[in-house]
């Protein structure tokens, strides 16, 4: 009897361990950037392509950086939540348009000239925002995804909460749903804005 107890106990422990493992989300990779200064960049602003913007221009404000693209299906799912957010709060929401042209499988980037890529990207992004509503205070264009690498972007959409000192306080990978917004992002913003 005692022996069966041990065997069954061991088996149950294994089942529990595997069950925990199976229920973890392998895509939920902790970002090493949390608590670190937001990597700097200087990128073209979508609405005013002759101007550029970087994290140091946002110094002193608590803001969100949202990585998006018109070819990104999950971004479409997330979009209404962001539009709603922008109406409810006055927290700056900066869009980082990620690889607008070369990220889209329909284009062969080796056949597109840099100037052409830029104008095409601006046009596509503007059109998309006009169609679906623009929740962004402004959007900057990361045409080649180089800034995305600095931010450890690996699955669009991704969202970063950056504090007044320019330090990344939170990262959310994947689309923001109302639950994440209400339970995680809004409380953090309120705390940082105190």
């Amino acid at each position: 009897m005692n022996r069966y107890f041990w065997i069954l106990g061991g088996f149950a422990a294994l089942v529990v361990l595997l069950a925990i493992g199976l229920n973890l989300d392998p895509r939920d990779v902790p970002s090493p950037l949390i608590g670190k200064p937001a990597p700097s960049f200087n990128l073209t602003v979508l609405a005013t392509p002759d101007k550029s913007l970087g994290p140091k221009d946002m110094q002193g404000k608590v803001w969100l950086l949202n990585v998006w693209s018109t070819w990104c299906v999950s971004c479409r799912q997330e979009h209404p939540v962001l539009v709603d957010f922008s109406k409810k709060t006055n927290v700056p929401l900066v869009g980082l348009n990620y690889k607008e042209v070369r990220g889209d499988g329909d284009f062969d980037i080796s056949k597109i000239k840099p100037a052409e890529e830029k104008s095409l990207a601006l046009q596509r992004a503007n059109q998309w925002l006009a169609q679906h509503g623009n929740p962004y205070t402004l959007t900057v264009m990361d045409l080649d995804g180089r800034v995305g690498i600095d931010y450890g972007v690996y699955g669009v959409p991704e969202t970063y909460v950056i504090d007044k000192a320019g330090v990344i306080r939170m990262k959310h990978t994947g689309p923001i749903n109302p639950d994440v917004l209400d339970k995680k992002i809004l409380p953090l913003l309120a705390e940082l804005n105190q």
């Binding site: 392998p26 895509r27 990779v29 902790p30 970002s31 090493p32 950037l33 070819w71 990104c72 299906v73 999950s74 971004c75 690889k99 990220g103 499988g105 995804g145 690498i149 600095d150 931010y151 450890g152 690996y154 699955g155 669009v156 959409p157």
Partner: protein, 157 residues
């Protein structure tokens, strides 16, 4: 995006032989650098197709990162600098051989702990068994005669 990535991972399975042929133009002129690129990217996990290395994966992110590593090799950075560059952006998860620390202790120590528990259980069992055998004493004269009677009872008459 996820659907696209999944599709890319799946497509990769069938396209692997082709993908090798059509791989982004390697630095054929510099085989040493290309070999380093291979070695470094084989140590790094592609975060999109998580069970592939950056060397194996044809996901866009892996291509971008190979491009990045190639650039860093050309600018004369050491292997360690390149690996550190990846870790500061994507975390220890990007390493196929993560460092031993509080978070990875179970990963590194788990198999050893299981082995030790197994050895302990085996030794315990063997010791108990030996003790049981030692404790078995030969039959006393009285018991022997009883056993004889019993055996004779069942013997054919």
């Amino acid at each position: 995006m996820r659907a696209r990535l999944l599709a890319c991972c799946l497509a990769l399975g069938c396209l692997l032989p082709l993908a090798h042929a059509g791989e982004a133009a390697p630095l054929a002129a510099d085989p040493v650098a290309e070999k380093r690129l291979q070695e470094i990217s084989a140590e790094l996990r592609c975060l999109v197709c998580q069970n592939q290395t950056i060397a194996d994966s044809n996901a866009e992110l892996a291509q971008d990162l190979r491009h990045e590593i190639r650039g860093m090799i050309q600018s004369g950075q050491s292997d360690k600098q390149i690996i550190d560059f990846m870790v500061t952006r994507y975390g220890d998860f990007v390493l196929y051989r993560p460092p031993v620390n509080g978070v990875t202790l179970l990963l590194w120590g788990g198999p050893m702990a299981l082995l030790l528990i197994g050895i302990w259980a085996l030794l315990r069992y063997l010791r108990q068994r030996a003790r049981r055998i030692d404790a078995e004493q030969p039959l006393s004269a009285e018991e022997a005669s009883r056993a004889d009677t019993l055996l004779n009872e069942t013997a054919p008459k």
